[in-house]
Structure formats: structure tokens, C-alpha cells
Symmetry: C2
Subunit: 481 residues, 2 copies
């Protein structure tokens, strides 16, 4: 502690400790496969190792870094392990980590253009780059009527889309006067839980969210959507919002966006397309069929923080009519007024989401896109899809197991033929072994194992070992024929 800095750490001390943290992170990735993928900690175990109260006196950084190793690591589930196949990936990469480091170092706020112009302009620019990179409809460009913004999560994108839809349907009256209880929204029975959460938050209510049934591929049946809309109109309801999913969480089901979009257009209903994980696939021209019909969408999102090597949080949310979104979210108090805003020549992203404050998240996206180039990103996405297809072929060829859903991209839903108890037992054995981490879902009422290939460093040997472990777990449980 120097006279000048009080209790603050000096830049010189930061150079030393910061470099130790960089080495710690590099070491972590070099040894990541040595840890059980799923933390084996028991509830309360981590807390029990921590002092009951905060320290009165400051402590050394070396001690803190030692405690990360000793107290925190045992409670970590290693999402970045190449043997992590659970949920959806939330992958990252070293260029992204450095983008996050710089963002933390700069410590700027991007709530208004004026509060740090580069934070807003780099974000707009990256979101425009991505329109071209994924071949999204041109209306999502900031140079058109729409534009993109980084949200924290697809949950918040869905909420913002639903809010903008609600306001368009009520001619912006519910923002003023409150909801009238007549609004209804639609999604498939396989949509993400965040859609129901958004319906609750927006005051629409979960009973006014219609869950449309799906076909045998777990994709929404558009004819059932059309019929439900007709029934709701006849009953005096106001249909305002449809969410189609490109790659459902449960099984990677892909809703027919074009057919849904035509229905929405006929009824002037806002169409949001949630492609949280799977959207990244559209980097590859041969996989762009997933977005067929996207020109009908009023809004769209996908998450570079899932499958594009960009660390959480980074969800890209696009709207076709930015005025509709801004009109929904904007409140302008005196203390935020400034000349740039009033000139109308700039974007103020605070009007594009719930939060006011916002980090400089475009830096990491810039670093990722520039480090890999389009070529490198395509290479890795193709590789993941290829590995998943190989895994699916092994399941198909094994008489003990079956595929439970189509495998359009990088998620395999499969199960042992002996039923739920067997599959639960296999899942528990695998996850407790620490060798890999899988999660489950229910499809057609049956417990189903999910294996998603999307971690940055997952390669063929990891997928081969995963399949070997799965078969061994089944054999140890003596379920094999």
C-alpha cells in the first residue's frame, strides 16, 4: 500500500498478478481433461470451506489465486472440457477471453453512443458483419430499417421480441395503460422455457401462450398453428406473437419457418425466430437451409456464446423494424439527454433491451471473427457436425441403442432400448465417473440421452471415448442383449 494509491493495487502489481492469472488459465486448459467433467461437490461443501465473514484487512493476491485452485476448482463443472457433451455448448476461445480481459480493463459503459462511441459502433459493425456471414435477410442490417444488438441471453431476446410484438398489437397502448388480458402468443410444445417465462414477465400470462403440437421430427405443425389462431380470433383474442425455433433445446427440432411465416404475415403477427445454438451453423453455406423462410421474421437471435467460440454472454438479436423495438423500450430522463442522441445520427443501445448499463462485448466478437476468419469458423462448425453425424451412425448400427430424433446438426438424442430406468442408470454412471458429462430430455414420453458436440477442443478421440464409455456403462448395468 503506497501513499499514492491507498489500498489500491498498483499497475506494476497488476502486471505481475495478471500474468500469473494468464498462466493459470493456460495451465487450466492444458490439464482440463484431468478433472471430473461434472463437479463431484455435495450441496454446501464449497460454502463450508469459506470464512463465515469478510476479512477486516486486505489479503494477498497470491493467497486468493491459491484458493481458486484449492477451494473453487472442486466445485467447477468443466464446461470447456472436450468431454463436456451436456445441455448446449457454451464454448469459448483464447481470443474471446482476451476480448473479455480488454473489456474489463477499459471498463466503459455503452448505454448511450455518447458514453463510449466505439462500444456502440463496433457492436453495430459486428452485427452487420454477421448478417453477411450467416446470409441473414438484409432487413436486419443497421443500414436498412432494422439492426442488431448484443443481448446477454436468448431469454432476453425473446422477451424483447415479445414486448415489441405486444406493443405493435396494441398500437403501443399497453405500455401506457397496461395489458388487457386479450393478447395471445404461440410457440411449439418443444420451445425453450424462456418463451413461457417471457409471456409471464410481459403480463400476457402462461395460459395465453399456446403450445402448438409438433410432428414426428419435433417441429411445429403449421396447420395446427393456423387453426389455433382462427379459434382465438373467433373467441375475441388478439394474436400478437409467434416464436419459431431453429434447433430446439430438447432435440434440435427445426420449425418450418416459411410456412409459419406465411401464417404470421397473413394475420400481421410478429414472428420471432430463436436459433440460439443452431444459428451458428449458417456460417456454412451447405447448412443455411435451417434458415429457410427467415425473410418472414420480424426478429431473430442466435448465440455466439453457445457455438461460436465467444464466451458468455453474447447473444445477437436482430429486428427488422428497429423503430418498433425502440418505441417499446425507450424512456429518456433528463440526466441521459445529450446532443448525439438528439441529433438522431447515433444508436443508443439502452433502448434495445431491458438493461441500461452495458459492457463492451463487441470486442470479443471482433477478436473471434478476426482470429478465425470465416474460413476457420466454418472449419470448426463443419467438424462438430461431422463428429455428431459419426456418433449418430454408431448409434444406428448398435442394436442396444436407438436414435430418438433426427440429427440435423450437432445434437444426438438417443436411448438404450431397455427403457427409462436403464437410461437413467447409464446417465448417472457416466456423470459420476467424471469421464464425460451428458444430460437428458424426454421425447415421446421416454427418457432420452442427449450428446451435443460443440466444445472448442472436442475432437474425434473424445467422441469415440464417449461412445465407448456409454456402451461400457450399459454393459456394466447388464442391459445389453
Amino acid at each position: 500500500m503506497s501513499e499514492k494509491s491507498g489500498f489500491h493495487m498498483t499497475p506494476e502489481e497488476f502486471r505481475r498478478h495478471g500474468k500469473a492469472v494468464v498462466d493459470w488459465i493456460a495451465d487450466y486448459y492444458e490439464r482440463i481433461e484431468s478433472y471430473p467433467v461434472m463437479s463431484q461437490a455435495k450441496p454446501g461443501e464449497i460454502r463450508a470451506s469459506l470464512p463465515k465473514s469478510a476479512p477486516q484487512k486486505g489479503e494477498s493476491f497470491d493467497a486468493m489465486l491459491r484458493d481458486v485452485e484449492k477451494l473453487i476448482l472442486p466445485g467447477i463443472t468443466h464446461w470447456q472440457s472436450p468431454n463436456f457433451f451436456a445441455f448446449f455448448p457454451s464454448n469459448t476461445s483464447f481470443p474471446s477471453i482476451m476480448g473479455e480481459m480488454l473489456s474489463a480493463g477499459l471498463g466503459v459503459q455503452g448505454m448511450l453512443w455518447a458514453t463510449s462511441p466505439a462500444c456502440t459502433e463496433l457492436e453495430t459493425h459486428m452485427l452487420d458483419w454477421l448478417v453477411e456471414m450467416l446470409d441473414l435477410p438484409g432487413k436486419f442490417l443497421s443500414t436498412s430499417t432494422g439492426g442488431g444488438v448484443i443481448q446477454d441471453t436468448a431469454s432476453n431476446s425473446s422477451l424483447c421480441a415479445l414486448l415489441a410484438a405486444r406493443e405493435r398489437a396494441t398500437n403501443y397502448a399497453s405500455n401506457e395503460r397496461g395489458c388487457d388480458g386479450k393478447l395471445v402468443a404461440y410457440t411449439s410444445s418443444q420451445a425453450h422455457s424462456s418463451i413461457e417465462k417471457a409471456a409471464k414477465i410481459a403480463g400476457i400470462g402462461s395460459k395465453n401462450l399456446r403450445l402448438i403440437e409438433v410432428d414426428e421430427d419435433f417441429a411445429m405443425r403449421p396447420q395446427l398453428l393456423a387453426a389455433q389462431i382462427q379459434r382465438d380470433l373467433a373467441a375475441g383474442h388478439t394474436p400478437c406473437f409467434v416464436c419459431a425455433t431453429v434447433g430446439t433445446t430438447s432435440s434440435n427440432g427445426i420449425d418450418p419457418v416459411r410456412a409459419i411465416g406465411e401464417i404470421c404475415r397473413a394475420h400481421k403477427i410478429w414472428l420471432h425466430v430463436d436459433a440460439a445454438m443452431s444459428g451458428t451453423a449458417a456460417l456454412c453455406p451447405e447448412l443455411r437451409w435451417i434458415h429457410e423462410g427467415l425473410e418472414f421474421a420480424d426478429s431473430y437471435c442466435f448465440n455466439p456464446h453457445k457455438w461460436m467460440f465467444t464466451n458468455f454472454d453474447c447473444d445477437c438479436f436482430y429486428v427488422a423494424d428497429r423503430a418498433a423495438l425502440i418505441r417499446t423500450m425507450s424512456v429518456l430522463p433528463e440526466y441521459l439527454r445529450n446532443k448525439a442522441t438528439e441529433s438522431g445520427a447515433v444508436i443508443d443501445y439502452r433502448d434495445w433491451h431491458v438493461q441500461l448499463g452495458r459492457r463492451f462485448r463487441a470486442l470479443k466478437l471482433w477478436f473471434v471473427i478476426r482470429h478465425y476468419g470465416i474460413e476457420g469458423l466454418r472449419h470448426h462448425v463443419r467438424r462438430h457436425v461431422e463428429l455428431a453425424q459419426q456418433f449418430a451412425s454408431w448409434v444406428r448400427e448398435d442394436s442396444d441403442f436407438e436414435l430418438a430424433a433426427p440429427v440435423p446438426l450437432n445434437l444426438i438424442c438417443f436411448r438404450h432400448r431397455s427403457g427409462d430406468a436403464t437410461n437413467q442408470d447409464i446417465l448417472d454412471r457416466l456423470n459420476q465417473s467424471g469421464a464425460l458429462y451428458l444430460t437428458h430430455t424426454k421425447l415421446d414420453g421416454k427418457l432420452t440421452l442427449r450428446l451435443c458436440v460443440g466444445q472448442t477442443s472436442t475432437e474425434l478421440p473424445h467422441v469415440e471415448r464417449a461412445w465407448s464409455h456409454i456402451r461400457q456403462a450399459a454393459r456394466r448395468g447388464a442391459y445389453s442383449s
Copy 2:
């Protein structure tokens, strides 16, 4: 690019580049006072310097870091400069930056306890530490009926509080059936814009948010609140939510929480207390008067990312009855079910906010609290308050200027006596000079300058120079008497 890693950066490359980033950040803090505090970039200038499309081939990290220096820095407003006195502080510190680095490196998800137990348990532990550190009511402890969670912003905390209030008032029916248009909410005319935004989002409507008038110190008048509630009840409305502010954004006004709380309790209305910036002051026993009456609150938030050396985002949100919050936010799909959740022995923070995915933000809070100790944090908060009080005394003694509001803590609202045009001119001169950055508000209908002391490295010479620049700007404009 190696055979093994494809296009990925290797850990060895990351060691080299990561350390260069650490040095860049240390250099940045050493030279931060050499930049104009407010970016002098013109709208579109940063974008114009960037390539129109993403690169096909990957680029070197060295080139990217050079571009940060060359293309991005001119568009940065230096929030971490000791000469930044605008808005509210969003301060950070080297220990916090390293916490963010480690969080990015680990890349874990904390949506469920099971997805990384340490992420949840360290967060719960830090939020409990802070209850003791700020002497908050014991009901906010996780070991009581309530508990705390890290949100991104106070905007989201206010939204969650309003949603929980809405649901309690409707016996959890509006989540199911939608809002009925009868709910009303209350805050002061000086409350943050996020309260109105929350009322819009929650489907209550901004016309159903009553803005209660304030007294001469810009604090809510409780007798007017009580009268408005009576009128609303008589008109058949359902009062559900009051937000009191401890330290308004505009002028640091402090609502009388006890008097407001007694009214809320009598009518069973949810009381939320927003202490986004000022809450940190309660680290110091002699400043805890700001929380007088907080035991009446159902929820509370303050932001370590404003005034506690913890980089954005880190808002601490507390509820007295966690079951009310969880019941409002929870949706549990099959693919998130797990044994730990079903045991009831763990906290799943996804049910405490809008988002599902969440970063490991408790690490940086842990590092900050341990690095400074309670002693160090108090030292710096006291120092900022002391510097602000010195500045206020200079304003009081200068016949050309006047204080526009009380100065309870670290924000000074003041103005030149010559009127709005003069103050606008002074503000523009100062901010264009690059020597410091101030923002404004309107109080009693008059343009008012705001100077907030809260940046990590702000010391007496910075505040002295700020005052000197302000007086010079006034003299150059020839407004002095």
C-alpha cells in the same frame, strides 16, 4: 495453426498474447490521464475505419491489439479516468479485472447449482458477507427466508421486484392469466427511468405508475404517497408496488424509507429500495443512516459495479421472501431437471432473474472484498465522500455558483447563477476540453451540473483541478461577476 488445434490458438500462444494484454491494460491505466476523458469521435467515425466485411482468413493477434490502440481508443470515453465525474461512477480495480479474467477463462454456467456448484455457492456466500458488511436486515440472508443474487443491473432488479410484487398482489394469477389492468405502482418523480421501464415491461403500464412528488431535498413525500394510495383504492385499483430510492440518479435524493415502509406495511404493498450507487456508503457505520427503515423493505439492491471497485456487471439484489421471487420466475423444463434441484437443498439462480445462462460473477466480488478488506473499502468510500464535501464547500463559498441540492454523500449538484445558457456553455466547454467529464440534470426546472466523486483513482488534485477548470470555463464565458 497446428494439426492438433485446427484454427484454435494454443495455450502457449495465449500465454504470450494474454501477457501482452495484461501489459496493455497496465499501460492504459498509467497513461489514462493523457486522453480526453470524453471521446471526441464524431458519429460514424469509428465504423468508417473498419473493413466493410469480415475477413475470410484469420489474422494475427498482434494486429488486433494494434487496432485496439489505433481504431478503438479514439472512440473510448475513459470511465476509469480519475477525471471522470459524469453520470454515476462505474468503477473497477485490478483485483476485479482479474476476477473477470478468471471467470472468462473458466467459462462456466451458473444457471443451476448443478451446472457448477462453486459458481452458485460463492455467490450466495458473497451476498451473505455483504449483508453483514452493510449491516442490512437479517431477513436478506440466505440462511433466513430471503437471500441475495447477482443481477446485471439495478434495472433488472427493479423489474424482478415489480414482477414479484405483481404476482403477490394477484395471488400469482397474472403469471397464468395475464394482467387485469387494475394494478398500480408508485415511485417518486425523481426515481430512475428503469422503474417506468419495468412498469411498461411488466404489462402494468406507465400511466399506472404514480410518480409521487418530492420535497425540497428531492425526497419522496410520504404523505402524498399515502393519499394517492387511498385515492387509487377508492377508484378500485390494486396498489402492488412502491419503489423508494436511496440516492437518486439526478441529485442523490434519499427517500424516507421508514415512513414509506410503514405505509406499505399497512396496505400490504411490496416495498423495493433502490440504492444502486449509494448503498455502498453503508460499508461505513457513520453513513448507515441512509438505510434507516430498511427492515420494512421486501427487496433491495445496490451495485458494487458503481462504487465498490467491481467491474460491470455486478448488481446485488436481495429479497426478504425468496419463495415469492422463485414462484414468480420459475419454469422447469425436463432438460433442466436434476437431482440436486429436486432435493431442495440447493439454490438455482436461474429462478431469481430473467436470464437462464449466467456467468461466474462472484469471483470478482470475492477478489475485491479480500484484496481491500472491509478496512480498505471503507477508506476509499470515506475518501470519496470527503472529497465531495470539500468540493461542495468551494461551491458554497463562491458567489458565482450555488448548490442545487443537498450533498449527502459523493454527488454535488450545482450551477452558475447566470442561468441555463451559461451552465450549458460551461458544460460544453469542459467536456470538449477533454480535461474532465461532467454531466447535467434539471432540478427545479433549472439546468444543473453534476459532479460525482467515485472513480477508483480520483484524489484531491483531480477534484481541485476540476473546480479550477469549472471556474475558468465560467470566466472564459465572461459570466463571472
